[in-house]
């Protein structure tokens, strides 16, 4: 057999750019989060609430990915933070190059928080490292509680799962306990928060999580540079 070993990552070019981004984000102490969820899970609404609730003067910016339209960027710009829309023109995910090309010099201005809203999709964005500190998966109670089992990749890789739209629980058959059990079966250490962007339930806890995570990034900037 004339077999020669290669042993490289298929997405090595993406990973190379992601590693550069991670290094740059470590140098500036910027916490970068990659939000992944189905279309309609409430990713944009969660980011809107987040921008509203950030302590005054926080240096934050948002990249929001969609296949078409500037709609999400228009929604998110109302809160006074820099926002750039990435329209992927057909691609079902963001990749590291797109993020690099849209950072707009933000890192040089002492950015503390970079929120990246991925294209609505539970599968493809999972494969592409964007140089982020953590992936956050947003699941809504309008979906099935078996989503973690059907799409294990993202639940495995996400540090935090946000169970959103909990205000709808009286009206939908969603079983919270089953959903949490499914998520933990795939990823025993996954952190879980329950939120409603309509009633505001759970948002304080989410903002605390975010503040703690940002603090950790500043106190251990080099440690997070090596994580994937």
């Amino acid at each position: 057999m004339n077999r020669v070993a290669i042993e490289k990552k298929v997405l090595s070019e993406n990973d190379r750019i992601a590693a550069q981004l991670r290094e740059a984000l470590a140098n500036t102490g910027t916490l970068a989060l990659n939000f992944i969820g189905s279309p309609g899970a409430g990713k944009t609404a969660l980011l809107e609430k987040t921008l509203q609730m950030l302590p005054h003067g926080t240096r934050a910016a948002v990249l929001t990915g969609d296949i078409q339209t500037e709609n999400d960027a228009i929604r998110l710009r109302r809160y006074g933070y820099p926002v750039r829309q990435i329209t992927t023109a057909g691609a079902c995910h963001l990749d590291a190059r797109m993020v690099e090309n849209h950072l707009d010099g933000w890192l040089d201005k002492g950015l503390e928080l970079l929120l990246i809203e991925n294209v609505g999709n539970l599968v493809c964005p999972t494969s592409y490292d964007l140089g982020e500190d953590a992936k956050v998966v947003v699941l809504s109670v309008a979906e099935g509680e078996d989503k973690p089992l059907k799409y294990p990749g993202i639940f495995r890789k996400a540090e935090l799962m946000i169970l959103n739209k909990v205000d709808l629980l009286p009206h939908v058959p969603f079983q919270v306990a089953a959903a949490l059990e499914n998520a933990r079966r795939i990823h025993p250490e996954i952190e879980i928060l329950e939120t409603s962007c309509t009633t505001g339930a759970g948002l304080d806890r989410w903002m605390n999580w975010l503040a703690d995570r940002a603090k950790r990034k500043i106190t251990e900037p080099r440690a997070s540079a090596s994580g994937v």
Binding site: M1, N2, R3, V4, A5, I6, E7, K8, K9, V10, L11, S12, E13, A91, C92, H93, N121, V123, C124, P125, T126, S127, P152, G153, I154, R156, K157
Partner: protein, 89 residues
């Protein structure tokens, strides 16, 4: 959904790798895919075959080693039609 992009990345890597073995053709490329890599193997095969058809790569075969509970998406090996003689690039 993104399997076409993955298939295209595999072929780009094969092309680059073959530069090390001038005059050789690749018969098979082996990739290792973890359960949590977010890649649908059937869809990847379909895209791979569609991309290879009618190109210099034909009839390159894709062999997938599926890893339970793994996260990898790796290019593992190439099988060449003749014994390889590596040259420095």
């Amino acid at each position: 959904m993104h399997e076409m992009g993955i298939a295209s990345s595999i072929l780009t890597a094969v092309h680059k790798e073959l530069l090390r073995y001038p005059g050789h053709r690749a018969e098979k490329v082996g990739v290792r895919i973890g359960e949590f890599a977010g890649v649908d193997t059937e869809s990847l095969r379909f895209c791979f075959d569609a991309l290879v058809k009618g190109t210099e790569f034909e009839p390159l075969e894709l062999e997938i080693e599926w890893r339970r509970a793994g996260e990898e998406l790796d290019l593992a090996y190439l099988e060449l039609e003749d014994a390889p003689q590596e040259v420095a690039v």
